[in-house]
């Protein structure tokens, strides 16, 4: 019988050969013997022919053990045999873990849609039942949403509320009420509660800071870098830059949160002509004191004037490579580094995450509009096509299930031959919806970049596995444990 390799990626770090096995997301270290066995079967080879004539051969016995190991790891299989198939869907209805509450559609910065599409315009947009949309979520709707979350999270030890906007802190009253109510309900139900919020930091006051720290919020701040970077695009309606306003507020939050709360993260949007990623990172961590920094690179349709040239994406990969090297250097010395893009990737590689769906939208997570309508995620809230019920009457299970069937990796033909599939799974639904008019379409415009980024992650993973394997345990974490909690390393 012929045996042949499944989809995989071989790579080398510090002179050690590794292989990443796509069907299982396993990472294996090879040596000369195992590498030669893998070489032998890579294009398909007959097993009996390979075995013949080796009776009593001790050296060959070791090779055969390697063969068996590779079969168990899903790397070798009989030619023609179909690979193991993922369950189509988990048992439905799948219990929720997280609701994203859109507490307001308004924003106080001029760089958002609200500058032109403010309250009046929003009021013109109608819900399915003909009601006008609201710009703020009422405390009552938030409480209803929380009740809905507890009713639909059977079996979950912890549930999470994420507050989203607009600028979330424009509706701090509802946030405060929701947090206190959720904690009350959590105590009754015997569950743990997690809270998170994203803000532009312009409205952070000492009172709000105290509240966020007390309730252990995961806080993410949208900031593009130092003064020049930040003020280039993120301004008040007057046109005045925001950096001077937010920097001291951020520093007060970080100081109050230090040693008490969850890591404070910065989220940077990279635009054409932005400063180098490393300079921005160093400013945000070194000057402002952020624990983590995540970068969201710009992507665009090809050939457009406004498109980020592929050279810029290449340059971005180079920048990410430099920061990744810094991360690895720190990891080898058991030190913490806050480049969250690579840490997220390494955590997924280490855990062997292998996704049937690219994200939790519609599975464990739903978004809630200011009026209580349910969307697949925060990005689909208020999109009628993707609405899946409301917090009052419940989830439209049929629609939810169809979305999950359509978005399943097995329905994405382009992904079937890609080694990066386990942790990419086709990419963001919303981006696909905008780009292709179909949420279940794989984001094929990202493929080359994603594969190069995955290669970079594998190489970094290998370096740490060789140089300081104990560090990898810190990427373990218990399933469901806070991601931030697994990084208790020296600063």
């Amino acid at each position: 019988m012929n045996y042949i390799t499944e989809l995989h990626r071989r790579f080398e770090s510090e002179g050690v050969p590794f292989v990443y096995v796509s069907p299982s997301a396993s990472i294996l270290a090879l040596d000369g013997v195992s590498a030669s066995v893998l070489d032998h079967f890579t294009d398909g080879a007959d097993l009996e022919e390979w075995v013949t004539g080796h009776d009593g051969d001790e050296e060959f016995k070791e090779q055969y053990e390697v063969f068996e190991g590779l079969v168990h790891q899903g790397l070798l299989k009989p030619e023609g045999e179909l690979g193991p198939v993922a369950e189509a869907l988990p048992p439905m209805p799948y219990p929720l873990t997280t609701l994203v509450l859109n507490v307001t559609n308004k924003c106080n910065l001029a760089c958002t849609y609200c500058y032109e599409f403010g309250e009046d315009k929003l009021a013109d947009a109608l819900r399915k039942n003909g009601d006008a949309r609201r710009s703020r979520m009422s405390a009552e709707t938030a409480r209803q949403s929380i009740d809905f979350l507890f009713e639909n999270s059977t079996g979950r030890d912890q549930v999470n509320l994420t507050f989203f906007g607009g600028e979330t802190l424009l509706n701090f009253e509802t946030i405060r009420d929701a947090v206190l109510y959720a904690k009350e309900r959590a105590a009754e139900c015997g569950k743990r509660m997690g809270f998170a919020l994203t803000t532009n930091a312009t409205l952070l006051t000492d009172e709000i800071i105290e509240f966020l720290v007390e309730h252990r919020f995961g806080v993410n701040i949208s900031i593009d870098g130092g003064g020049e970077e930040q003020d280039r695009h993120r301004t008040f309606k007057s046109g005045k830059g925001t950096y001077e306003e937010i920097a001291p507020r951020i520093q007060r939050l970080i100081a109050a949160n230090s040693g008490v709360g969850q890591p404070i993260g910065a989220r940077v949007t990279l635009t054409e002509g932005a400063a180098s990623v490393r300079d921005t990172y160093q400013h945000l961590v070194g000057e402002l004191g952020f624990d983590q920094v995540g970068f969201a690179p710009v992507t665009s349709a090809p050939g457009r004037d406004y498109a980020l040239a592929s050279a810029s994406m290449d340059a971005l990969l180079d920048d990410f490579r430099v920061l990744t090297e810094d991360y690895v250097e720190a990891a080898l010395e058991n030190k913490r580094h806050g480049f969250s893009n690579i840490e997220d990737l390494l955590r997924e590689l280490h855990q062997g995450v292998n996704k049937a769906h690219p994200c939790g939208a519609g599975l464990g997570l739903l978004g809630v509009s200011t009026e209580g309508d349910l969307g697949l995620c925060h990005r689909f809230v208020e999109s009628g096509e993707h609405e899946v019920g409301d917090v009052e009457s419940g989830i439209d299970q049929e629609k939810r299930q169809q979305f999950l069937i359509d978005g399943h990796i097995s329905n994405k033909a382009e992904c079937q031959t890609c080694f990066a599939r386990p942790h990419c799974s086709g990419g963001c639904y919303h981006e696909a919806q905008v780009r292709y008019g179909d949420a279940s379409h794989p984001n094929v415009h990202h493929c080359d970049w994603v594969r190069a980024w995955t290669d970079l992650g594998l190489e970094a993973y290998g370096k740490i596995a060789v140089g300081n394997p104990a560090f990898l345990d810190r990427l373990d974490g218990d399933p469901g444990a806070p991601a931030g909690a697994v990084m208790e390393v020296e600063v």
Binding site: E62, E87, T162, F195, G218, H233, S340, A465, A483
Partner: protein
């Protein structure tokens, strides 16, 4: 195993089970909890299913991108070239699909 070493958690998990005659312990897809990791397009929950590792606030960034080139993703710019691009769209997320293509 002497010549083949399981490095990550998944590989170790499979190896442990294969040693006990459980041949089903290979190559299954998991259920994801978090957001797609690539390019940080969203941030709803982290890979552990919690909200602590979140980054990236992005909702309706279409208009962010359009008005100020804050994130000039897949959209034209309002500042110089396409000031009328969204004139058919009253509310951002609700009816963004009414916005048409442009041809520079």
């Amino acid at each position: 195993m002497k010549h083949l070493k399981a490095i990550n958690r998944k590989a170790r998990w499979i190896e442990e089970r294969s040693g006990h005659g459980d041949s089903s312990a290979k190559a299954m897809a998991d259920i994801p909890f978090g957001c797609s990791t690539q390019l940080d397009p969203g941030w709803e929950v982290d890979s552990g299913g919690g909200t602590y590792g979140l980054c990236t606030p992005v909702e309706r960034d279409l208009y962010d991108c359009y008005h100020s080139c804050y994130w000039p993703a897949q959209v034209p710019d309002a500042l110089t070239n396409f000031p009328e691009w969204t004139s058919t769209c009253g509310a951002p997320v609700h009816d963004w699909s009414k916005i048409d293509l442009v041809f520079p």
